[in-house]
Symmetry: C2
DNA sequence: TACCCGTTATGACTTTTGTCATTGTTTACT
DNA sequence: AGTAAACAATGACAAAAGTCATAACGGGTA
């Protein structure tokens, strides 16, 4: 069996919720949410939803890491963003009532709750705060996307890779008491973040290592010289 | 004088409104809008708002064409999108209560109305329809931005330029009874859409002309062979 | 343990795209 | 209408990044 049903955690006591878009909901509004809420276990590598299919609700990640990506030309994926505990995904398709424009796959074993469309819209209707929160989430995503457009359009590979590493660090943090980024991505995944060939990523990572910016250990990346790495990324915003 | 005040058109009778995000507002809600609304005339090339400055309202384009762009590294601009009659701009900054993350400049003489933050939020508060409309506008922008990310990351220049021409056609349409796209952009502007050097755009446009995809007349581009152009763009979504 | 498959690594080479220099052409302004 | 400044065009060259081929690694499984 691929997606095992999983005992749904209680939203009211979910520790992820406090960092999520639902954080400021009153308990009154919140009670609307868990109605019919489902929860599934996804094994690493398995798909939560697929580009082109129709959504019937949105997903809230209880545990695990997820990549959101689009299928580009000639079968090459483009990773748009990552999601982790407390993040909601698939809300764009729900709000616009259109098929998913991207796919979501678990990067490691994950537990993901499902909130049916109707429950969600009920809360949205009742809570202007949630509506505003959603708008702010959307504006934030949009701003991030626009920054990425500028970078893909203008920055050389070396800078994009350095920045990608920094963003992975911001998103997933370090493993406890280390400077090792807490996520495992293949070189191909990394290539699909910054829009380049796998070989180019491999070569550049080796260079970064030689230049003592990072340390490599299989798929784990450790940041050795954060300052130099930031400089290499040539960040201007 | 740079931005002459301009007699504000009446929102209730504004022909642009019906294609805008305000289209479905009842007249009751609408009456909130024109309160304190201002209107300015911007000469071609002049700035409506600048990246980094703080917003105090949003803008609704009554007439004219506008480019929205970010300043990238080494002084190179990146055009994010265009706006025309009936479009609102600067709403992202208002919703997120942050400085503008991009600048807006008139591409031709333009008349742009200004809706103060407070008026806007008043209507937003009263009208769940407008809130939903805004969310849908945001999701649409986000989807467009994500498609652009994939294209900038994966497509070669030739395809990106062909697609840019098609998008310009979609956005601005043809001049009456012609196949000439109704907008004048410098080669540099075009380069700043697709993220390349001006010289590359010049060279590729000449190629497209040689290949009988387009015709060039100063800054005006006419589409000669739409089918081939679409094929050249290699669109897959 | 040994094997196997997906991944990582590296080299040689090609293609694409950018940069610089120079010249010709428009545009916008007075 | 005249003029300066911005823009467009083109060539020669350089740099960046992609492709292809091949080899080595590595971790899970029979």
């Amino acid at each position: 069996m691929i997606n095992k049903p999983f005992t749904a955690p209680d939203c009211a006591s979910c520790t992820s919720r406090h960092t999520s878009v639902f954080a400021d909901l009153g308990t009154g509004d919140l009670e609307k949410l868990p109605l019919e809420k489902g929860c599934n276990f996804y094994k690493s590598g398995h798909t939560i939803f697929s580009e082109g299919s129709y959504p019937s609700g949105l997903y809230c990640i209880h545990k695990g890491k997820v990549k959101i990506f689009k299928n580009g030309a000639e079968g090459k994926d483009q990773i748009l963003r990552f999601a982790k505990e407390g993040d909601i995904i698939g809300y764009k398709a729900i709000l616009s009532d259109q098929p998913y424009s991207a796919s979501a796959t678990a990067l490691e074993d994950a537990v993901v709750c499902f909130i049916p469309k109707k429950s969600y819209f009920d809360v949205l209707q009742l809570s202007p705060q949630l509506a505003l929160k959603m708008m702010q989430l959307l504006t934030h995503e949009l701003k991030t996307a626009e920054t990425r457009i500028v970078e893909l359009a203008q920055k050389p590979l070396r800078e994009r890779l350095a920045e990608a590493i920094l963003i992975l660090k911001e998103t997933f943090g370090f493993e406890e008491n280390t400077t090792t980024i807490d996520v495992s991505l293949t070189r191909e995944d990394i290539a699909n973040i910054i829009g380049t060939a796998t070989e180019s990523v491999i070569r550049l990572l080796s260079e970064f290592k030689k230049d003592k910016l990072i340390e490599l250990n299989g798929r784990k990346i450790s940041i050795v010289d954060m300052k130099k790495l930031i400089k290499t990324a040539n960040i201007d915003d």
